[in-house]
Every structure is written in structure tokens, then in C-alpha cells.
């Protein structure tokens, strides 16, 4: 047993190494597919419930059994970490969010490794290969179109700190949303751009009491009486509901909620002009367990998820994008490259180092 484990670990490490050095072409995919058929059932932990649908489709196609456990983003990281630490063989593949945290606990520790399957190697941009991205999610600013039928009320992110928006902006609690914390580290990293945006908007330089424009924005925003919510769904519904005199505005909620607009008759649209960023996007990452006893089946499953067919369960709404360039955007949505130019991402190292400062600034000013 330990023998097999060591071999599997070495193998996985080798493969990862090979992928990184671009020797990966040498990998014999046919052999992997054959070996996959001899291996046991796969266990997958996933933050998105659609993985279960993809797994069912995969099983029909290949006959390889896949069991999916759906977990919240931090629960998944916690559980995979504790299990790996205890040496319990559980998840073979994880579909994980909040890569900043997951990288520290699961990747840097060697419990999970990156694997780049053939399709991704061929089609994905290099920056989307390590970590291997299943898809990107974007989070945007939205407003009620009954109140603003013909113009976008957002000019600059600094508008949200002005009296006009006082008590009217909704955001999911940054304190309990890991991705928001990551996203705001980018506001710290790109303070200069925020500062410039302030000057563009108000014609005068920004006078700060905080260390940088990112934290200054957070402070002013929180002092402007925002409404802190616990769910993105409730934000999009509250912003978009018909028949409101003074509807709130939504910040950083997932764009995929706009899928419900026709079904729920929401008067909702997203800002396409807010300066300097339309929001942010974050990756859903695929990783392979270093100690997996079914590494080949895991690889075949990972490969499947990077194909358009495998991604299908996610392709039923706007706001979710595979790095696979052959994806046709959801009706009415823009392709990912369009968003990539207009949304901010975050720098993983900078985010890891500064996330605590962001959370502290939030906690400091959020409490009334």
C-alpha cells in the first residue's frame, strides 16, 4: 500500500513537473485512458453543484464512476486539508475556489498538484494552465433599469462614496466572502489607478487618511452606509425587482444571476462603464490529489472538464467562462476576453500577503 502511494505521488509530481517544463508532449494519453478504465471510482469535492451534472455525463461517456461532494469554498479547503494531513485518501480531484487560500493550504503543502491535460495544453492560454482553470466567474456592478432607463448611473467607483449613493449600495459581506477579500487586495495593489480615477471623476487629487487609495475607498464606502447582505441572489433580486421607487444598487454580485432576469421579470442590468473596473473575475480551479489512487481516471475527468462538452453544465448562464477559446458566449453575454480587459483579477502572491489587511480594514469600518 504505501508503495503504491509513493509511486502515485512520485508519478503525479513527475507529471506536474513535466507539464511545467513543457515536456508534457511526451505523455502517452492513450495509455492514461486505458489505465483509467482499470482504476476505481473517483471522488470529487466541488464548490459548484454543476460538477455533479458533469460527472453524470462523464460516467455515461466513459463508464468511469464519479462521486461528487458539494462543499462551500472554505469547507472544501478545510476538509481537503485536514484529510490530506491525516493521510485519509478521499478526494482525487478538487474543484476549488478562493485559490489564494487553497494554494497555501493544499498546493504549497504538496497535497494537491496541478495537471494540464491535452485539451488545455493545446488551447488554454498559458496563464490559465497553472493552476488549471475550469472556468472564470465574474462579479459586477448592477442597477435597476426602471430607475435608470436610459443611462448607466455609475461613472466611477468613487461615486459609491458620495451622498447620492448613501445607504443605497448592497454588497455581500466581505468578511465572509473570501473572493471579495482577494479582489480588494487588487484595489490596494492598483491604488495608483484608483487615485487617478478619483481625479478624473472629481477633478481634484484624492486626500487620504488611509495608507493607499484602495483602503481609502473601503473606508469611505463603509462610512457611506452600505447595506451588507449574506447572499448574491438576494442582492440581484432586491436591485432588480420591479415597482420600486428607490431601488438599491448592487456591487460585486455574480453576473450569472442575470440569467434569472427574464424568468423573474427583473429590471436589472450591469454597468459597462464604471471607472476604472467593471468588477472582478476569479477562477474555479481544478487540482489533482497527489496521493490519488486513481490518478489516470482523475486525469481523464480533468481533461473532460476542459472540453466544451464537459463544460456544458456551466454554459447555461452568462457570467461563467471556460478558458477554452472555442466557447460561444451565452446569449447576450460578451466573450471572456472582452471581460478580461475590463475586469480586475488579482495577483496571487500580493493577495495572500495583503488579504489580512483588507479584512482588518473592512472589520474596522464596517461595524457601525
Amino acid at each position: 500500500m504505501p508503495h503504491r502511494k509513493i509511486v502515485a505521488t512520485l508519478l503525479a509530481l513527475l507529471v506536474a513537473l513535466a507539464g511545467a517544463v513543457a515536456f508534457a508532449q511526451a505523455e502517452d494519453w492513450d495509455a492514461i485512458e486505458d489505465a483509467a478504465q482499470q482504476e476505481g471510482k473517483l471522488m470529487v469535492y466541488s464548490t459548484t453543484s454543476r460538477t455533479a451534472t458533469a460527472a453524470t455525463n462523464f460516467q455515461e461517456l466513459t463508464g468511469i464512476e464519479v462521486e461528487v461532494v458539494r462543499l462551500g469554498e472554505q469547507d472544501l479547503i478545510q476538509r481537503a486539508y485536514q484529510e490530506a494531513r491525516a493521510g485519509v485518501e478521499s478526494a482525487d480531484v478538487i474543484v476549488v475556489e478562493d485559490w489564494v487560500a487553497a494554494r497555501e493550504l493544499l498546493s504549497a503543502t504538496g497535497y494537491f498538484v496541478n495537471y494540464v491535460p491535452p485539451t488545455a495544453r493545446e488551447l488554454f492560454a498559458e496563464r490559465h494552465q497553472d493552476p488549471l482553470v475550469l472556468g472564470f466567474i465574474n462579479r459586477i456592478f448592477g442597477y435597476n433599469t426602471d430607475k435608470h432607463p436610459d443611462h448607466d448611473p455609475f461613472v466611477s467607483v468613487w461615486d459609491l462614496t458620495t451622498p447620492e449613493f448613501r445607504g443605497r449600495v448592497m454588497i455581500r459581506d466581505v468578511a465572509i466572502t473570501g473572493e471579495h477579500q482577494n479582489a480588494f487586495t487588487e484595489w490596494v495593489r492598483r491604488s495608483d489607478e484608483l487615485e487617478a480615477a478619483y481625479e478624473r471623476r472629481f477633478g481634484e487629487p484624492l486626500v487620504m487618511t488611509e495608507a493607499n487609495a484602495g483602503l481609502e475607498w473601503m473606508k469611505r464606502f463603509l462610512e457611506n452606509d452600505p447595506i451588507i447582505m449574506t447572499s448574491d441572489t438576494r442582492i440581484s433580486e432586491a436591485v432588480g425587482a420591479a415597482g420600486q421607487e428607490d431601488p438599491p444598487y448592487g456591487m460585486f454580485y455574480v453576473y450569472s444571476k442575470h440569467r434569472d432576469i427574464p424568468l423573474q421579470d427583473l429590471r436589472l442590468t450591469d454597468s459597462r462603464q464604471i471607472d476604472p473596473t467593471l468588477g472582478y473575475y476569479y477562477p474555479i480551479v481544478l487540482q489533482l490529489a497527489a496521493a490519488s489512487e486513481s490518478p489516470n481516471a482523475a486525469k481523464v475527468f480533468i481533461e473532460y472538464l476542459t472540453t466544451l462538452e464537459g463544460f456544458e453544465p456551466w454554459a447555461d448562464s452568462p457570467g461563467v467562462y471556460t478558458p477554452n477559446p472555442n466557447q460561444v458566449p451565452f446569449e447576450g453575454d460578451m466573450p471572456f476576453w472582452w471581460w478580461e480587459d475590463r475586469l480586475w483579477y488579482y495577483d496571487l502572491d500580493f493577495a495572500a500577503a495583503n488579504r489580512g489587511i483588507v479584512l482588518d480594514t473592512w472589520l474596522k469600518y464596517a461595524q457601525r
Binding site: R70, Q78, A86, V100, I227, T233, D246, N354, G356, Q367
Partner: protein, 598 residues
């Protein structure tokens, strides 16, 4: 001369054997997690190293303590949430006591009509998950601040509710009190029921008035139950996360549990566990006060061999109005959230009140992407996975309730029989500690403890029994509280008489001690049963596909904002729990009459 061993063996009584056994087991299940938690507050965790200059993960540090208690921003980080938490917990505890106590007195000691109905219904608010009341509150009283469709109150009256009324500490306290008052009702009701009428009759003979009797006889006798209620509700106020986050966020009023959660999400478990530790300490403080006060009053033996039920207070002309008031209150508290949930499950699209929009699609519909929210999921009643998970939940709830019931009775017996000894105090307090541990923290610690074999304990990873252990430890406090308060009221003479009659320990437990206090033990089992059916955060890290529970599997809907499914599932659970509660109460009641009335 006797050797030590001989002396010890002479002194070996069932209660001592039990005491040692329980101490060992609880020591492992309670002290170890607590130790782990405390230790973690002195350690640098991976992402924390960036905020602690020059540190590496695993290093020893005092930074978490400094930051929390004495840093420049300690007020915002810790003291303000602490104050909010205390306001909520105290308010909640007093309200729950007032409501539960009044109801208990009305039901047990007066000639109020519809008693059966009221006592069954009064438990239901606790059966519903606490967030349902929060949700109902928002549906009723929300104002323009959080947008969306109008609140019902505003829609009907045209009056906009003020923010402090709609969100924040006030509604958090009220909704939690409405959720937890059944604790007071059950515990105080149980205690009142057990008071020997002779005590009150004697007082009356001595010329005491009704009020004096209440103050000098009844209240002191139910004091342990009052303190238990206070302790149980206060501690729940410390730990609850969902309601404060949901109702507090809109006006940015935060509590310790949100702080704990934020730091766990932010990957700062050191600070998170420290907050958890503070929450536990606050609970311990109340526990200590409880012991100081109850401890000095010695025990009240109220069930003796003989005894009679007290006469009922006649409410006279107030009988009708009081009954109407009580019924309106209870059904309001039950019906509003249930209706709010139910309406949501039969509307294809939320917020559209048209006949064409009503449908049973989310209950029995076939999977479709064209109807309603276009989820492509079958209605919950025809989803075999959901039904399987529901089966697991029921199996778990029953197993946990039975184990808790038996353990609660035995620990109660041991604690009371060894009263005044250190071992008794230790056991009592140990068995209560898990109640004070925030379940998000406990789940991950249990996972770490049981994932691998340690000494004689095999790896329980992925088994049903791991779930059972986690739940038993978590909910044992309910059963132990019940066990202790039941046993406190049983005089030793009953057991002594049985011993004289030659009954073995087993027979004494089975034929004497258990039957006389069945109702209280039953309450002690009911609470774990109910709590298991809706536990999520404790178990989320421990379930595997084979052991999926109703709550964990429902996450897939919550996560995509498909609330009709989530709510339908909650309704199914609530229905099952209410039915089993009512049925078993009915069964118990007949037995109760036999046990006490004979």
C-alpha cells in the same frame, strides 16, 4: 488492615463506576477539542504569516491575543461585537424565560383550556430552523433600505418601519427569543409539574397568600430550571451565526459569531479560534454562576414516595381572553414563518402573486429547464437522492436521541448521587462544555481527531458513527440537563426503598428512577432529535456521499439561489419532526400518568 484496593472495591458503587467511565470518555471528546482550540490561538497559520512579520507557519505567537484584546482596533474587531453579543444574549435569555415561564405556568398550574394543543404547539418554534423566523421578520417588516418587493406590513399600512425595528439587534433578539422560548417552556414546565402539592398546601395552611407561595415556594423550586433555561438560551445567543448575519448586516451590526466566521473565512483560524474561546469562556462564566447559585441551595427533593398534584389556579373570567392571547401568540410565531416558507415553494417565480404562477412544480414536478426558475431539477418528493438523505437524517436523529437519552439519564444519576464531590462537579461541567463550543470550530476539530486511528480508537472517517459521535457530544448537554434536573427532584428514599426490596441497580433504574421522571428525560431526548434534523455546520466536514444528510444535500439548491427547493425541504423536515414529536408526546403522556399518578 484493609488495603487501598479493598477499600476501593468496597466503595465501588454503580455511580462511581459510571463516573470514572464518563470522565474518561468525555475527557477525550471534550477536553481534547478544547485543548486543540486553545493551542491553535498561539500558532501562526499559513496565511497569517503575512500579518505577523518574520514568522513561519507553525511558529508560536502571541499576535492573535494582542490583536484581539489590546490592539489599536480592538474595539471594532472585538469589543463592539462582544457588546452586541451580550446585549442579544441577555435580551434573548430574559425574553425566552419570560415567555416560556409564563406559558409553562399557565399550562401546568392553571385551568387554561386547550392545554394539550398549546403544549404541543409551544415546542414548534424551536423545531423550525432559527433563520426561518429571521426570514419571516424580513418578509413582514422590511423597508425600502434593502429594496426588492415591499414588506407586508408596509404594503398593508403604508407605514414604513424604522431601520432599528426592521434590522439589527432588536429583531435579532426578538426572533431568537421566539425561537428559543420553548426551552423555558419545557424545562420550567417539567419542574412545575413535579412540585409536590403538599408543599404548597402546607404553605397555604400556614397562611401564605398566593403571591407569597409563588415567591417563596414555587420559584425556589423551579429555580434550577430557570437557571438552566437562562444558561441554555444565553449560550445559544453567543453562538448563533445565521440570524445575526442575516438581520444585522443591513445595518452593519455584528456579533462575535460573525467575527469568528469572518476570520475562519479569511484563513485566520488563530484569531477565529480565539474568538470561539472567548465565546466558550462567557458560557463557562454563566455556568459557574449557575453552579454558585444553585449549588448553595442544595437539592430540592420534590418527588417523594407519596405526593399529589397541586390544585389548579382558576383563571376565572380571564380564562377565555388568556387562552385566546396564548393561542394567537403561538400560532403567529408558528404560522407566519411556515406560511412564508410554504408560499415560496408553490410559486414558480418569486414575488409574483398571480394564479398562473402557483404550482407544485418544486414538490412533485419533473426535471425541466422551461418551468419556473428553469433549474432542470426534479421536485423534491421525486428526487431519490434527497429522499435517501432524508432517511439518513432520520436514522441519525433517532440514534443520537436514544444515545443522548440514555447517557443523559445515567450522567444525571451519577452527578446527583455523587453530589458535592469533585467528580460530580467535573462531570456535570464537562458534559455541558460542548454546548458552548461553536459548531463550525468543533466540526473541523472532530475531523482532525477521528480521521485516523489513534490508539484504541479506529479511524471513523466516512462512517455513520462519526456523525453520531459528533452529534451526541454536541447535544448531550440537553440530555444531561434534563437528566440532572429529573434526578435532583427524586429523593433517595425511592431508590433506598427499592434497594430494601432487593432490586438490583438495573431494576432500580428501569422500574423506579426512569419511570418517575419519564417526561423530563423525554424532553432531554427530544431536543437532540430536533437539533440533529437541521444541523449543518457541525456535520458538513464529516459527511460523505454515503452519509449525506437532508441539510447537506440541500446546499446545492441554496448555493444557486433556488430557495423553493430549500424551503420545501425545510418544510418536510419540520413536518416529520412535528409529527414524531406530537405522536411520541402522546405516548409519553399516558405513561406519565401511570408513573406519577399512581
Amino acid at each position: 488492615m484493609r488495603t487501598r484496593l479493598q477499600r476501593f472495591r468496597l466503595n465501588v458503587t454503580p455511580q462511581r463506576v459510571l463516573a470514572v467511565l464518563f470522565l474518561l470518555v468525555l475527557g477525550y471528546l471534550v477536553v481534547v477539542p478544547l485543548g486543540v482550540m486553545l493551542q491553535e490561538t498561539f500558532v501562526v497559520h499559513p496565511l497569517e504569516r503575512f500579518q505577523i512579520p518574520g514568522s513561519m507557519p507553525g511558529d508560536f505567537t502571541l499576535a492573535h491575543w494582542e490583536r484581539t484584546f489590546v490592539s489599536e482596533n480592538a474595539y471594532a474587531f472585538f469589543y463592539r461585537p462582544l457588546i452586541n453579543t451580550l446585549i442579544i444574549s441577555l435580551g434573548l435569555a430574559f425574553l425566552a424565560l419570560a415567555i416560556g415561564g409564563t406559558l409553562a405556568w399557565l399550562v401546568v398550574r392553571t385551568d387554561l383550556p386547550f392545554k394539550g394543543l398549546i403544549s404541543n404547539a409551544a415546542i414548534i418554534p424551536y423545531v423550525m430552523p432559527s433563520w426561518t423566523l429571521a426570514l419571516a421578520w424580513i418578509t413582514l417588516f422590511k423597508n425600502e433600505r434593502i429594496g426588492g418587493t415591499q414588506g407586508i406590513f408596509t404594503a398593508l399600512t403604508g407605514v414604513s418601519t424604522p431601520d432599528w425595528f426592521a434590522y439589527g439587534l432588536f429583531p435579532i433578539t426578538i426572533t431568537l427569543a421566539l425561537h428559543y422560548f420553548p426551552f423555558g417552556f419545557m424545562l420550567i414546565g417539567g419542574a412545575l409539574r413535579n412540585i409536590d402539592a403538599q408543599l404548597e398546601e402546607s404553605a397555604e395552611l400556614l397562611g401564605a397568600g398566593r403571591l407569597t407561595i409563588l415567591r417563596r415556594v414555587v420559584v425556589p423550586l423551579v429555580l434550577p430550571a430557570i437557571f438552566s433555561t437562562f444558561l441554555l438560551t444565553f449560550s445559544r445567543g453567543l453562538g448563533t451565526f445565521g440570524t445575526p448575519a442575516f438581520l444585522g448586516g443591513p445595518v452593519r451590526e455584528f456579533v462575535l459569531s460573525t467575527t469568528l466566521y469572518a476570520n475562519l473565512i479569511g484563513q485566520r483560524p488563530g484569531i477565529g479560534y480565539l474568538v470561539a474561546f472567548v465565546m466558550i469562556s462567557l458560557g463557562v462564566l454563566v455556568l459557574y454562576m449557575d453552579h454558585r447559585i444553585i449549588g448553595t441551595r442544595r437539592s430540592f427533593v420534590t418527588i417523594s414516595g407519596k405526593g399529589a398534584r397541586a390544585g389548579l389556579v382558576a383563571l376565572g373570567r380571564w380564562r377565555g381572553p388568556v387562552a385566546a392571547l396564548v393561542l394567537t401568540f403561538i400560532f403567529g410565531v408558528i404560522a407566519v414563518p411556515i406560511v412564508a416558507l410554504a408560499v415560496d415553494t408553490v410559486m414558480l417565480r418569486p414575488g409574483i402573486y398571480a394564479w398562473s404562477n402557483f404550482s407544485l412544480h418544486y414538490w412533485i414536478g419533473e426535471a425541466s429547464r422551461a418551468i419556473g426558475l428553469g433549474t432542470g431539477e426534479p421536485g423534491i418528493l421525486r428526487n431519490p437522492q434527497l429522499m435517501g438523505a432524508l432517511g439518513n437524517t432520520m436514522q441519525l436523529a433517532i440514534t443520537v436521541a436514544l444515545i443522548c437519552g440514555v447517557l443523559g439519564m445515567l450522567i444525571g444519576y451519577t452527578v446527583v448521587r455523587l453530589r458535592g464531590t469533585l467528580i460530580s462537579r467535573l462531570l456535570d461541567q464537562l458534559s455541558f462544555l460542548p454546548y458552548l463550543m461553536p459548531s463550525i470550530a468543533l466540526g473541523s476539530i472532530f475531523l482532525a481527531m477521528f480521521a485516523v486511528a489513534r490508539g484504541p480508537i479506529p479511524s471513523l472517517y466516512g462512517t455513520f458513527w462519526l456523525l453520531v459521535i459528533a452529534c451526541v457530544v454536541s447535544y448531550l448537554p440537553y440530555a444531561v440537563k434534563a437528566g440532572i434536573s429529573a434526578m435532583m427532584q427524586v429523593g433517595p428514599e425511592l431508590e433506598e426503598a427499592a434497594i430494601m426490596a432487593g432490586a438490583s441497580w438495573w431494576t432500580r433504574m428501569r422500574r423506579v428512577l426512569f419511570p418517575v421522571q419519564k417526561a423530563t428525560y423525554f424532553s432531554g431526548m427530544l431536543l437532540p432529535f430536533i437539533s440533529v434534523t437541521r444541523e449543518l455546520s457541525l456535520l458538513i466536514l464529516l459527511v460523505t456521499p454515503a452519509t449525506q444528510l437532508a441539510t447537506t444535500i440541500t446546499l446545492r439548491y441554496t448555493d444557486r439561489g433556488w430557495y423553493p427547493y430549500t424551503n420545501a425541504m425545510v418544510l418536510v423536515l419540520v413536518t416529520i419532526v412535528i409529527t414524531s414529536t406530537v405522536v411520541s408526546r402522546r405516548l409519553m403522556k399516558t405513561d406519565l400518568a401511570k408513573g406519577l399518578g399512581g
